[in-house]
Amino acid sequence: MTATLPGRAERTLMEGSEALVRASIAAGCKFFAGYPMTPFTEVLEHFARLLPEAGGTCINAESELEAVGMAWGALATGERAATGSTGQGLSLMQESFSELTLAELPMVVFNMARGQQDYFQATRGGGHGDYRHIVLAPQDVREGVELVQLAFFLADKWRNPVLVYGDYLLAHTQEALTIETLQFPELPPKSWAVDGTKSGSGLSGSVTPLGVSKHGQPSFGQEGKAQYIATKTPLMEREVRVETGFLDDAETVIVTFGSPAKFVKYAIKQLRADGHRIGYVRPITLWPFPYDTVRDAAAGARRVGSFELSAGQMVDDVRIGVSGQAPVTFIGGVSTDHSGFGMGRMLDVDVIRDRILALHTDRELPVIPGYEEFTYALAPHQQEAAR
């Protein structure tokens, strides 16, 4: 009674975390260091299990600070390396993220976020100084497998950290998959890496975030280094990637990213079937943000909504993209499960569809049962301000 569909028998049922790890190994990742934190933990577990088999090393770092430092060292030798955590752990790594950018180390960073509240952290950074990281936000495991490999390529291409922004759903959803190794254009050898062989030759090298070089070699100086790094920003902006749907005649445009985008797209497809002219823009790169796509989509629309599971972060970028052509409404909200690790009841196609339809028909956003107003907790003088 087993009927196998042709050409699909090679696939295995795989948890998202494992798929991301296998994709990393397919991309040639040789080193990983991490510290367990829900919902990132399984990524670390799979690296610990699979990377040694593939000739690499995974270290159970004693802290996030140490994890990012270890990956830093591995990268400096020219190998592909990564670290990761949840947004909380990434907060601890921010100093390194800033300086890795100056050191031009191609680190891939996994954020298995507890929600979508790390958008600012990912795209603006919590670190010091001028820096930008390419941020890739897969909507599902399948896309994650591609984007992880792209992340390693882009990191090397630009010698710049690249973040993969996932979440609880991406990490834990299982899909039937094969991990195919993707081909990318060839990159030049990493002549900047250090391996010890040039020591004592008078031509030793250094990998450093500081603007200094070895004595006798051309040097940026601190100011020059900052200016040089800044020249890469507009070039990296060309790496923008975006998916759109139903925009041609859309009166309402919804902007959405990551796992929740899958819910939004599903809801929009249902609304389309009912004749509602609604389309969507899904940034695949959160930085660079597809401002032009959002601008063009808003040009013919009456209204734009931003759906994200936060108090409203990406909506800032949506507003920049829309540039006043249409009103922008935040239709998402903070929504986690009772543990704080997963996603709450807002992540439901019916709930999302009701919110999109309310926006589309210029009605008030429906209240989600159980999502009370917390204004009662405000102090009296704050309550006055709330009124």
Partner: protein, 295 residues
């Protein structure tokens, strides 16, 4: 040490003499220039010479990788002729871990100060030692933040005057110093732990032997190795440069006891170290009086 008064005319020391062989070269082979921006009387360049010459003498220079922390010594990052990874303040042991795991045949060492290692990055060095990582951590310990201008660190000794302990470090108010070498020596993964100093020529020579044992420990993959070097910082201590060695010996040297704290996995007591130190000092002085140190 010297009790003599020089006599006769000043000799010409601008040109190399004839009919003589070089005993010690001007600067370490692994320094691209002798120039640096350390203050007068700084002890850090002395330690630098010790480990750079050791790498050359062991024949491992061409496979050595340095990981530098952030402090005054960071300015040597650009002048050491050693492949180098610049780490953030405190983070060098983790960075060295990543380097070593990817390049297991390289001789990987960190260069850190006490502010870097014992303040900001204490957990890094302890965890790296506990893991038995096959790297060598080198600490230049002068008991102050030299680069910021003489502020208290976790190794400043009781009574030590710094810019933020103006009346001297007070245990009740500021807490006690961390004896990092002693701490590291208690960790199972640490195979070789030593504390040297550079306050006189004998101490410099003895410390150089510690560097050699540490690097040998790494090359032979016997575990984590650690050399702490007490260094003078007359600027940060607010003493005349010539008083630096004496001040160092009387303050830091009385608390952070010099010697090999752990050899072949065996931890040695402070009393053992004190006895040995007296013995060693007599030997070294005698050797110098005979006309040279056999390093």
């Amino acid at each position: 040490m010297s009790t003599h008064t020089p006599r006769g005319p000043v000799l010409d020391t601008t040109v190399a003499p004839a009919a003589a062989r070089i005993v010690e070269a001007l600067r370490p082979e692994l320094l691209l220039t002798q120039e640096h921006h350390m203050c007068p009387g700084c002890g850090e360049p002395l330690a630098l010479r010790g480990f750079l010459d050791t790498l050359s003498e062991m024949g491992v220079a061409q496979r050595s990788i340095a990981v530098a922390g952030i402090g005054c010594y960071t300015s040597f990052s650009g002048t050491m002729d050693v492949d180098l990874v610049q780490a953030l303040h405190g983070r060098a042991p983790s960075v060295a871990t990543g380097v070593k795991r990817m390049k297991p045949d390289a001789v990987v060492f960190t260069l850190q100060g006490d502010g870097d290692m014992v303040n900001e990055g204490l957990q890094e060095v302890l965890h790296t030692a506990a893991r038995g990582e096959q790297v060598t951590c080198i600490l230049l310990n002068n008991g102050v933040f030299g680069e910021t201008g003489g502020h208290m660190t976790a190794t400043s000794v009781i009574g030590q005057r710094t810019k933020n302990s103006l009346d001297g470090r007070d245990a009740e108010y500021h807490g006690y110093p961390i004896l990092i070498g002693d701490l590291v020596s208690r960790l199972e993964g640490a195979a070789y732990v030593a504390r040297g100093s550079v306050h006189n020529a004998g101490a410099v020579a003895r410390t150089k032997k510690m560097f050699r044992r540490a690097f040998e420990t790494q090359v032979e993959r016997r575990g984590f190795s650690f050399v702490e070097v007490l260094t003078m910082c007359p600027t940060g201590w607010f003493v005349p440069t010539a008083d630096g060695p004496g001040y160092m010996n009387d303050t830091l040297g009385e608390v952070h006891i010099m010697g090999e704290l752990k050899v072949d996995g065996v931890v040695r007591t402070t009393d053992e170290l004190r006895i040995e130190n007296e013995h060693r000092q007599h030997e070294i002085e005698a050797a110098l009086a005979r006309g040279g140190l056999d390093t």
